[in-house]
Symmetry: C2
Subunit: 440 residues, 2 copies
């Protein structure tokens, strides 16, 4: 789907970037000649100083300083590693080459995206649920559209998030001014509703004990837990939203990883078009993490309390704050949705799913309880009673494997680690061997 | 730089797009089965219903219905028309092709942009003013970075805009909540400071009569007036900002169109690094309107009133709300900054400048007073005492030329038309002939 904050794929680059160093590891204040009179945005002050991934980078960096010859395997960041099918890249290359010809040159496209691509998205992913191409907004990635959705919603709405969850929902809520203050003791923002999702509730919140909010961020298959919500769970969620008048922001960026009959879209649930938008992405589906392409569906049925259609305001935000995804990336996206392209990208998805199986098998052989991995490229590993940073450190120290401590995804992630299944096969096999050696 | 709102380059597509039709030409409300309880964002309610470009599209559409054989020339939207140099497109094509190989595959890049590209931007555009690559943030275009800057600044700051100006500054101020209510009589938002810029003040505001604000949006060379601020004017602006503790958001997206000795960057003015950020773009410089690439410079010297460096918060916003520009576009941007690439894109800039000269010559021969065009791809034409929509309609009706009525850029644009110099040479020559026939 999208990356977690900062300092991930180009760790070493960022570690030596002063801009990043300062932000991540404490600000060095020097008295300047001139300060402006502009107050710092109080919302940005509410974000905690240290974020997850810079902290991981720092520990990785320290580890490499102590062990310069360590052969690290990075299963931390969820970044794709396998090449994109030829048919997709050659379509992008052809489009790019065409820009140097009079016939092939293209300037501004529609902010909402190329109509042909919107049609292909509607037909490929929403054929049976009647999403129209006019309801599809092509984006440069799901993370960017979360921010634009926050601009749409504004500071006055209340929001609920799964706990644990991808930090982007919470951080953008904080930046737009919805979240209130951080309670440093609980690690929770006062105005946000945290919906605990763990093995004890089949990774689905107890809705009878969930406060009603204007917005509900819900990710399935979930990052980080790897859980794909069942049809029954999503039916409950849609009913809950309808009863309370909420809008669900449904994140389906990992939907193509679903193997069982879990819904691939919230719109498979009857009535969902009146209560939900869906954000999604080519990143993990087609290896487009660097190419940047995604989409959001805003059904025309979805209305604010005054009856005004949400789609019109989202269109206005997209037209004012965005200028469309790169036309080269859009040409690639269209190629991914051709039958040959789709076949090609499916093989990559299956490759990562086999990786996940290798990791799950290794953990099962060690009697370590792990979740996810069946319908998602993430394995969510339980270390009962343990601090997730301690487990992270131990695995880094003893097995030279980078993972992500679960507490980085919210207080509900404590005692867990997220292990990413993105990687070349040999790295995954080697990681499995090392885990077995460490824990057996 | 960037496009004006909506419905521009793909007029016909959008005209028949129900999503756009509804938004642009009045909402058709039908009672739905279910409204959510989520209030519509009050900021979005403050934006006027009809925007400039949909209105232009509508009039164009009506004109074509009445005159189906009319040979329209579009000098409305500022969209590039000339192909991109081979060296740039082949670099993008090679990068795209490489993504299908193990060696060439790239996943997530740094959110702030490829370091090599940041270096090249710093060296090409800011060599003599000591901007470091760590202060350059690569973006997917200036319009997108304006929105991210608004997320950085938040709703509590006060802002000033040039009048007339590109609508993006005002519209994003409204969306984030800075602007207050629209006074329908004056066409101005209550909380915004409008800095009138016209021939009477050499297109530079009378700063003695300008209220102090936290933020000052300033575009030079200006869209729509085509005026490049002189060194003396910018020195005044920087002093004004420093005296008042303001931050200047300087938009230099048309800087490569400057022919005379006007500053190409606000950072040419001593002390500007303590009071300004600069947004810019490859769009009009390299014909990347559809490829999507730009940058923003946030100097490390620039601080909020509490001494906190603005660059750290901008970094946080970029990392949370953006995931980097497309890596293919970034490869193209780097090629533009090679010596051969730069030479190539310069020839396109010069081509559009010759177009502007043709238009200026035609208007001069008619004794119609026109401004701009020397340092910018826009000609700003004065029709004293006339309503700019009436002039627009007359030129559309009688010469089949689409322009932009100046009032669309703010009340200060009344009596003016903006004519874009982007277009193939034969269209520009034909437009000049038609204008001569119409007005002589």
């Amino acid at each position: 789907m999208y990356k977690l904050l900062i300092c991930n794929s180009t760790l070493s680059d960022k570690l030596f970037d002063p801009g990043c160093l300062h932000t991540s590891f404490g600000i060095r204040k020097e008295k300047k000649d001139h300060y402006t009179n502009v107050p710092r945005n109080a919302n940005l002050e509410k974000l905690p100083k240290g974020y997850l991934f810079p902290e991981i980078s720092l520990r990785q960096h320290q580890h490499l300083e102590q062990h310069p010859d360590a052969s690290l395997i990075s299963l931390g960041i969820g970044d794709t590693t396998e090449p994109v099918p030829d048919i997709v890249t050659s379509r992008m290359a052809d489009f790019a080459s065409g820009l140097s010809t009079l016939e092939g040159y293209r300037g501004y496209g529609a902010e909402q995206g190329n109509k042909e691509l919107r049609k292909a998205i509607a037909e490929t992913f929403y054929k049976d649920v009647n999403v129209k191409d006019s309801e599809v907004f092509v984006s440069d990635g799901a993370q960017c559209d979360i921010a634009r959705l926050q601009l749409l919603l504004g500071s006055r709405v209340t929001a609920a998030v799964q706990d644990p969850s991808f930090p982007g929902y919470i951080d953008t809520s904080v930046i737009i001014g919805q979240a209130g203050d951080l309670d440093h003791e609980t690690g929770r923002y006062h105005r946000l509703e945290y919906m605990k999702c763990g093995p004890e509730n089949k990774f689905f919140p107890d809705l009878r004990r969930t406060s009603s909010t204007d917005v509900i961020f819900f990710c399935s298959p979930n990052n980080p837990t790897g859980h794909a919500a069942t049809r029954q769970q999503l039916e409950q969620l849609v009913k809950f939203a309808k009863d309370n008048g909420s809008i669900i922001v449904f994140d389906s960026a990992y939907a193509t990883y679903i193997s069982d009959d879990s819904p691939r879209s919230i719109f498979e649930i009857p009535g969902a078009k009146e209560v939900a938008v869906e954000i999604s992405s080519f990143s993990k589906f087609a290896g487009f993490t660097g190419v940047r392409l995604g989409w959001t569906v805003v059904p025309s049925e979805l209305c604010f309390s005054n009856g005004f259609p949400v789609i019109h305001d989202f269109n206005r935000v997209v037209c004012t704050c965005f200028n469309g995804a790169s036309n080269i990336a859009q040409a690639g996206g269209l190629a991914c949705l051709s039958s040959e392209g789709f076949e090609g990208v499916r093989t990559r998805v299956n490759y990562y799913k086999e990786n996940a199986e290798i990791l799950l098998d290794a953990l099962a052989s060690l009697n370590i309880k792990a979740y996810g991995g069946q319908n998602a490229p993430y394995v969510w590993v339980h270390f009962p009673g343990m601090n997730s940073w301690e487990v992270f450190d131990m695995i880094l120290e003893k097995a030279n494997i980078i993972t992500v401590p679960g507490c980085g995804f919210g207080p509900g992630g404590e005692e867990f680690l997220r292990i990413s299944a993105f990687g070349h096969r040999e790295s995954i096999l080697e990681a499995a061997r090392r885990l077995k050696a460490l824990f057996s």
